[in-house]
């Protein structure tokens, strides 16, 4: 029992306290109602969308075992000539020779092909990043209104960059395969266009934040527009540019692994082939290799960014 003490009045009789309780309750109820309404709308949308796209519990229930089976096959190599279809990946088997269907040697027996394709994939990303960087670098200065007072040109270049980056990369590659033929060239060009678009926007933003005093200083000594940019702006913005370019390189390595799905070169073309023919051990081998390469490039690029850019800025 809570008895009010003698020298303190009962707080519940205080009108200010009652008002507080009442208003606090009202605010809490309103917030709860709003949360419930948001969740209900999200849920309703979810149910409608699921019913409409056929993402039904029955479909998933029917599909899940097949997914399990598929992934089971991916990572447990079945003996080719055994009638028993049991998962047979045992540690002892892994070290067997090429003839042993469960060994690493059998699993990765085409490692030479994969490695050369992966190397091609990385080189595609390198070339695309450099080409895109060059285009973005050249375009970003005339697209910055502080360095260029012809606003028509600024506007036109900005829209061009926007178009270049907003077309999905794979779609661009698929379109470019028609004029430039199947092979890595179309992939490199598509990635270069996409890179130029996305880097161009970021470079423009860096230019907007650059310090104008060095530029003005060079103008005051009679330097040409090119000299103003080259000696006034570039030294300030270059570390930021390179940092963004390295990030973009990581993204391009990821993209170049899939760009082969539409016939634009790299490991993706091989991956699509082996998935199509259900050569399970090769699918998992390629996936593992791609994963390794992506993680390695990310770590490497992070190191370079920290050292190289850190020392420059």
């Amino acid at each position: 029992m809570n008895r009010p003490s003698v020298d303190r009045p009962d707080p519940t009789s205080d009108p200010a306290y009652r008002l507080f309780v009442k208003q606090f309750g009202a605010v809490r109820r309103a917030r709860l109602n709003r949360t419930l309404l948001t969740v209900a709308v999200a849920l309703l949308l979810f149910v409608c969308a699921a019913a409409w796209t056929g993402f039904l519990p029955a479909t998933i229930a029917a599909g899940l075992p097949r997914i399990g089976e598929y992934f089971g096959k991916l990572f447990s190599i079945q003996p080719k000539f055994s009638p028993v279809s049991m998962p047979v990946l045992a540690l002892g088997h892994l070290t067997g020779g090429v003839r042993e269907p469960q060994s690493v040697a059998y699993w990765f027996y085409r490692i030479g092909t994969y490695l050369s394709l992966l190397w091609q994939t990385i080189q595609m990303a390198i070339l695309a990043t450099v080409l895109g960087f060059t285009a973005a670098f050249v375009l970003s200065f005339p697209a910055t209104s502080r360095f260029n007072n012809r606003y028509g040109i600024v506007f036109a270049i900005r829209r061009l960059l926007e178009t270049m980056r907003s077309i999905p990369l794979i779609v661009l590659a698929l379109i470019l395969v028609w004029p430039f033929g199947i092979g890595p060239l179309a992939g490199v060009l598509a990635m270069a266009v996409h890179t130029a678009g996305s880097l161009g926007k970021l470079f423009c933003e860096l230019n907007e934040n650059a310090d104008l005093r060095p530029v003005d200083g060079i103008r005051s000594t009679g330097g040409s527009w090119l000299a103003q940019i080259r000696l006034g702006a570039v030294p300030q913005v270059l570390p930021g540019f390179l940092s963004y370019a390295l990030l973009r390189f990581e993204i391009n390595v990821r993209s170049s692994t899939i760009i082969g799905f539409v016939g634009a070169g790299g490991i993706g073309q091989e991956l699509k082939r082996v998935i199509g023919f259900n050569i399970y051990e090769e699918v998992s081998a390629i996936c593992i290799l791609i994963l390794l390469v992506v993680v390695m490039i990310d770590l490497l690029s992070e190191q370079v960014r920290h050292r190289f850019i850190g020392s420059m800025s």
Binding site: F55, W178, F261, V283
Partner: protein, 275 residues
């Protein structure tokens, strides 16, 4: 007052490192890099660019010629576009449902234990390390053509991405609030609910909305491998060289993505008060 040759020589003596040329190692390095780039261009057959340009120009002209606009199958394209958005939404919501508990589990400050932390983080890395398109291709093989495979692909990859982001959000919270709940006798659940959740919820909502935006972009291409949505229509149109409809589909994609971005920005403003 202008600088004379004498002044310049004096400055050169004072700051030799500024006036020194770049030196031959750096020049050799630059030459090597440029030679390598030319080698790459040769490797990828860049001479074909000039042969392909007239063809590319023809395709661009065909893309911009919309005279057959009335005869196109608008209903099909719009339906596919809506399907793409629905796929992105379903996949993202599923990913949030899976990623929210995983994010809390993967946070170092909630669940101590180096090995557990390492295993959960590598799991997230593995999920998001392979591109969505690869997952979609695998799911199409496993579950058949259609949007369900695309939704699964989005959900799997995005679970990895969001779980990592959520875990990082939980790791950067202010410890005091959690300790305060603990000091009043709150258990683990109470500490998470009243100590952690209020701090991370705005970040999580923001990231969820970003995810839906990003996945709308991503989902437009999943159809290229048969996982439903506008990508399938797009690849059909490219196969039959209907370049005008290809351009129209791309415009549809751009409009839809912009619309989703706007809605998402509005929701972010309403729910967490920042754009």
């Amino acid at each position: 007052m202008t600088a004379t040759e004498l002044d310049i020589a004096a400055e050169r003596d004072r700051f030799p490192e500024v006036f020194r040329g770049q030196g031959w190692p750096r020049r050799a390095l630059m030459a090597g890099v440029i030679a390598y780039l030319f080698y790459l261009m040769w490797l990828f057959d860049f001479s074909r660019v000039f042969g392909g340009l007239p063809k590319a120009w023809t395709i661009l002209r065909l893309m911009l010629d919309w005279t057959g606009f009335a005869g196109w199958d608008h209903a099909e394209l719009w339906r596919s576009m809506l399907e793409t958005i629905a796929m992105a939404y379903l996949g993202s919501v599923l990913a949030v449902v899976f990623a929210a508990p995983l994010g809390f589990l993967g946070a170092r400050n909630l669940i101590p234990g180096r090995i557990f932390h390492f295993v959960t983080r590598r799991l997230f890395d593995g999920l998001r390390g392979l591109d969505q398109l690869i997952w979609a291709l695998v799911f199409v093989r496993a579950m058949g053509l259609g949007p369900v495979a695309g939704i699964m692909a989005i959900a799997v990859v995005e679970t990895g991405v969001l779980a990592k982001l959520f875990a990082e959000a939980v790791e950067t919270i202010d410890r005091g609030q959690v300790d305060g709940i603990g000091a009043t006798g709150g258990g683990f659940v109470a500490r998470v609910r009243f100590g952690v959740l209020p701090q991370v919820l705005p970040t999580m909502i923001g990231q969820t909305l970003y995810t839906i935006e990003a996945n709308t972009r991503e989902a437009t291409i999943l159809g290229l491998v048969g996982a439903g949505g506008i990508g399938l229509r797009l690849s059909e149109r490219i196969q039959i060289n209907a370049w005008d409809q290809v351009a129209y589909s791309i415009v549809l994609i751009l409009i839809s993505v912009a619309a989703i971005d706007t809605i998402s920005r509005f929701l972010r403003l309403r729910l967490i008060g920042e754009a």
